[in-house]
Symmetry: D4
Subunit: 250 residues, 8 copies
């Protein structure tokens, strides 16, 4: 039951065509009933302020293309296709090739990004191998119009590298820390700044890195209080967490 149907029902009650008791019967399961949410995604995007996002893995290229096409047709805001493989990208770009593509294996594709704003977000990586995850984060942020400053390869084994860019970090409104191996960078950054720090463990490293679990646990157990964490390699999730942040104060 969508709003029009609701309006018709109530008009019918108003007109005496439907008895209030019958309307009650039809409405009383409403808390869990169908309000015609075919339009729901657009509505939700509006409510959450988020761009439409399609998560690629597990979808066929055709499915990706169809969903992207529908989203582009149904709204005017940004549309993101996340973690898309080559076939998925090809299919989706065939629908509309005006997108930017970030990444090689699994890429982030963005249509109609919001215009660049003035938010000061820094995305910090511990090492060169963490770059793809940071790229995913930055590309997703760009869809929201957030142009992240990048600070790469500043892992704690050479502390001076981070310290020498301290001004950028101290000036940020929010920091994303992308780090594999032992993920210690999150703690160090968390101790330096007072603004929100979202930590992204990466599967970079080998042996005791346990494909990112060590960095994940390390970040969760961080001695720098108030660092919050998203899943392993989840640059996309970190971008979403950052975007939520700025909805507090539009």
């Amino acid at each position: 039951m969508d709003e029009d149907a609701l309006r018709r029902l109530l008009s019918a009650v108003s007109d005496g065509e439907v008895h209030p008791d019958d309307a009650v019967a039809r409405l009383r399961r409403l808390p869990f009933a169908d309000l015609g949410f075919a339009r729901v995604d657009h509505h939700r995007a509006l409510r959450q302020g988020a761009p439409e996002v399609v998560y690629g893995p597990g979808k066929s290229p055709e499915q990706c293309a169809a969903i992207v096409g529908e989203l582009l047709a149904g709204g005017t805001g940004p549309v993101v296709l996340s973690r898309a493989d080559e076939a998925q990208r090809a299919a989706a770009l065939a629908v509309d090739d005006s997108a930017t593509v970030t990444g090689a294996g699994l890429a982030t594709v963005v249509w109609r990004p919001s215009p660049p704003g003035s938010r000061r977000v820094v995305v910090v990586t511990a090492g060169t191998a963490d770059l793809p995850v940071a790229d995913e984060c930055a590309a997703t942020l760009a869809a929201w119009g957030i142009v992240a400053r990048r600070l790469d390869d500043v892992g704690v084994a050479g502390l001076h590298r981070l310290l020498s860019s301290l001004d950028d970090v101290l000036d940020a409104e929010a920091v994303v820390v992308v780090a594999g191996m032992e993920g210690a960078l999150a703690s160090v950054v968390g101790g330096l700044v007072g603004v929100p720090v979202v930590a992204v463990p990466t599967s970079v490293g080998y042996g005791a890195s346990l494909e990112g679990v060590t960095a994940l646990l390390s970040m969760l157990a961080s001695c720098a209080s108030g660092v919050s964490v998203v899943g392993i390699d989840n640059g996309f999730g970190a971008a979403c967490a950052i975007s939520r942040l700025f909805r507090v104060t539009p």
Copy 2:
């Protein structure tokens, strides 16, 4: 907004006191709005056919007593206080001492059980140490009026023990298998009968039993297809799964 309020609103529309558009405005967020669910638990109990259940751990004795008192006052069906420690039991029984108490450390307390029915459920245990979990399961089933037949200490190390009671097992409409250590009994029972088998891993055993994780994994990986599993030591959950079963065919 509860049903009465809804009725009043609709009557007002019917009477022309409220314009349909205004009613739409008030109703349109209903899918997630408050319908006055103070009565919700009773409604839900009715809808699910489940007794009211209060999960003890983490609640103060006073909280337990208050909730049990409210549930007893608000309905006429069975009420269960699950995993209650001694203080919680004392507080709740002070409200109404007409309950049956099953178990020693953490007990199951049942008020106003449904009258015994004719469902044929067998609760099988692998060893004597699994009895408390099976007791919890049986006590919870009794609240629904399901009188479980018990078949204890029939672990697979002495297969004849199970086989000698095979008729009971084959005659059941559903079987709960409670087993710790390696949990192999679930697979054996699952292979013998065609009716639903709910497996409950227990934390019985030591060393490689990993406090029930081994039995849990073993049951999930069972070679007997169609065995489904609840959490470790969760006799209560198994009883709930069984009770759901009989709602299919009232």
Copy 3:
């Protein structure tokens, strides 16, 4: 010793050709003795009401073909070849090509499915990527004549999607919930309905999803009591659990 042999032995006793003591000697280890169970699988299928199922992985294409051929020849009911790769399918279909094949990589092949019945089972998936597991479940159910209603892509991140189809869910006699990532859908569905809910964790997701372990644990620890769980990606097992359900009340 099969039934005929048993009959001959007893006739010989009856005829005085065999002394009772000698018969005792031959029979007394019978609890563990051979009754000529070459026909056992057919007998068991009969007793359990289950179709004949061949689990593909680890079997050579020739073995698959031979077993399927024997099952088709030896009975008249449904025969299922589960998780068959392309070579296994080819070999089995060469024996009898009247089967339906569901799935791409590892497929479910069904010969002689039972005619569609009227059971109301809903198979719910959290996301598009969970579809192959749900397909396996539905294809296996179809072998039993259970035509599952599908409700796809209704994960809890957009609760309205589930709520808008609530009637279907509330009307079901049993629900299978297929979900990866954090598997929260099982708890939500389990809280909404009172009928049996079988949860299937899937290996969908990455990072902290731990290839399905997170969803598995989440479902086992569900706050919705009475949800039971099968192994990761085990759509087949969920179908078997559902089929057991309906043997209670034929």
Copy 4:
């Protein structure tokens, strides 16, 4: 070398008393040298906008009292003693008994909280047993002057409980979700709101809850993008993450 010493050195250079080369020699290891950071904690509190926090576990009552005393003497802002046991609390309160104490076993003690502000933060719990963690979170927030609205016992097994308070949730600037067992509440809330959601897994539950690990993994793998997570039972950490949030937009 503190600022005064630096000034003296440079004055000496300016006065010709010290040759620039000698000054270089003394200064060139400055990036890692001591600038007289005895005042550092106060400075850092200022920079980060955080109250002074003393983490209790592992400190003797005497150490707790001494540190709290020093912090109270050295500043005028809020001081928090976190996770203090009874002896630690007694010792610290003996220094200054004007504090509020929240919690029973391990308590949060707050001196000189900031005056209540107008930030709209909601702390949601799945069940009664999650309350102590939520209390720790709220007590810590209160030190910053953030008065959290509480929404307790709204776990997803009874979705209506959450939905009936949806307005509060939708109105919040940030939400903390505290949940044990399978932690599904974080995903549901994350899907409903667009503002920052900090999820706190708790060790509530048993068996497959793995003392909070299941909820932790579940929250990290959440299908609701942009939910970020802190450590198990870490209500304090969630409060810190929330407080960082509001430093972005003072």
Copy 5:
């Protein structure tokens, strides 16, 4: 149906009182039917050559006493009460106090041990802290009349300690290796001797010992081929494995 009943049935067939077809009907489910296994444990003990063993944990003192009493009354061989706590021991010894008790916390109680034989079994421990597990093993072996030679505190950190007793080890017919920490002793002993080596990991050690899991994994992954392993701290199980060994060649 026990042997007598079977005999009576067959006599009835022989006498023409029962038709062979009726006997078939009664007998054909025999593979899983009851043969009157009230005597089963004695029969099984006979068949397996094992003493009667009662596993203490999870049983009430009364249950322990009753089972031990029944076993002592019903046979003439050894009876073992394993892992009995103080109350269980007291209750069981009240039935018959002619037992030997080994161990302090959880003890092994043996009635009517077999007379000492000439089997050459060596039980080797890595450190003093492994002694209780080795004691349990030796006490259980003694019930079978196997007098184990003990070789204690010969861990690989001081290889000479083992090497200096090499003759004893080389002379053994079987070796039990009891070791915690990293369990390396199993590999070293396994490499030195050609006879069966049963390794028992113990929960001795801390940190990375993971309460015995490290030793367990280490022994399973041993580079000395043919070492087999029982569960953590399972001295009883190792004794059982050894006793099985000597049933091959009575």
Copy 6:
């Protein structure tokens, strides 16, 4: 220093050419000194009664060929090349092609097997997919002249399959149980027979099978006492454990 060198030294002492004190000096570190163990493997093979075994993985084809060649040249007993891939097999067979090869991917290659003996060993598998591991076990046993009886596909989901071959199992001097999934077969067999049971968990199964870990844990936690376990998929190790067994009583 090999035996010849030792003899020469002692002859020199005997002849007065070397003073006893000098000989002491050269001999006194002997416990850790070099006795010229270039021939050590032959000596060890002799002492342990084991065939020469070369473990393939991680060795180059050339290394495999060289070691096999040396072993064949240096002795007359059986030589086994274990887990050899195709290139390793080709290289080793080029040295001496009189071997039997068992297995496809990683194969067991045996030269000069001992003549078949009369030991009665049964190798039991739970399912068809466990066959490769059982084959490795049997092929290795064959090198020692142990002709294992095979009992395949008798998993506990269809208990009758095992029971119908009970005589073979009861007649065995030792049983190897090869099972994946939940590994319950080991417990069932362990409960039926009194002789040594060596359990081999396999990586067969998926989801909660955890690539063999579930079966491994299950076997270690078996309720059938005295079952001992080797590593996952380690058919070779089980064969070695069995072979050790028969060295006790030649």
Copy 7:
């Protein structure tokens, strides 16, 4: 066979009383034979340069006292009783009360420490709660005459604390880093200094700290190359690793 026995044998050969062949027979198993190693511990202490160490856990007070007494009587160097509980300490001090005792619950007791040397070792802790582990390390080092400089509570959440003491760290010949939670301090220190860094993870922290496992993994996966790690809470082990270091260059 000890050295005297060896001398007598060789003298007998020299005197013609024993034939060289007979001596060969007796000597040829020498590589693994008994050389009378009753004196071995003293010899080993000498060879390794280590003090005599008795590991307390699992030993009775009497055993502790006896071993300590024997070591004190048999040598003149330092003797350490590690991780001794109160009863063990009392018993050992009753033998000789001239020891220093460090720690409260489980203490380190040192008799006859080596005189303080000039080695420059720094023991760094991340937080106050890590002190007991650092104390154990320092107390053990003191037995070797190594007086460690302590640098406490310099965790990376407040980097300035470490940096302000950088000179001490840079001046050290070796550094022990003791840290719980996420253990990031090891990486930071490892990146700052070029000398050996031994990292000790502690079980300090909660939730995702996993009782030290997170710090352990973090240190093993450290991005600062060449940091080596000992077990959780193993301050004793770190002291031993440091002491080994200085044996390279006496």
Copy 8:
């Protein structure tokens, strides 16, 4: 700000061109400020005495080549490219082909190694399959001029192999133990020598080896005190740990 800039600033102060207060302003955040660390790696290499090391994984061939080129141009000491795949090696060797390459899949490439010194380091492996890790270790050591003696295939299953080379081990200044499977060799070597032992667990083995985790845990839990451990397969890290060792005593 690099040293030159610093010098210029101070000269300006000295010349009265810059007021000391202004210089203070520019210098006072120096502890965290930028000193123009473009040359930092050279400086750090100098301070730590380590060669320049480039970690290959995650870098593009072009990045590897650029960094190696810069390092070769900017200094005169050794340069190491670690874990480089074929494309990375090709790119880097195109810059300067005077390097030695060790390893096949992921190789260690060394330019301008230090001249061979006289340090006595032994790298011990348990089995042939551990050789690649040992090779990586030795190749990295060679960059520092440390020529490691190799002792391969001396795993504890054949203890004599190690014992027969005992002199080499006892003569070493430091030992690296490289072992997979159960990693017992580290404990045995740790017990034999008093010098530093760095243990490297390898992912060699299968089943219970858990891809190196078993060896890792085993080494951490070693009963030989003072053995320190690096990550799985981390031959490079072990070399770094050894190189740190020799910086203590130049």
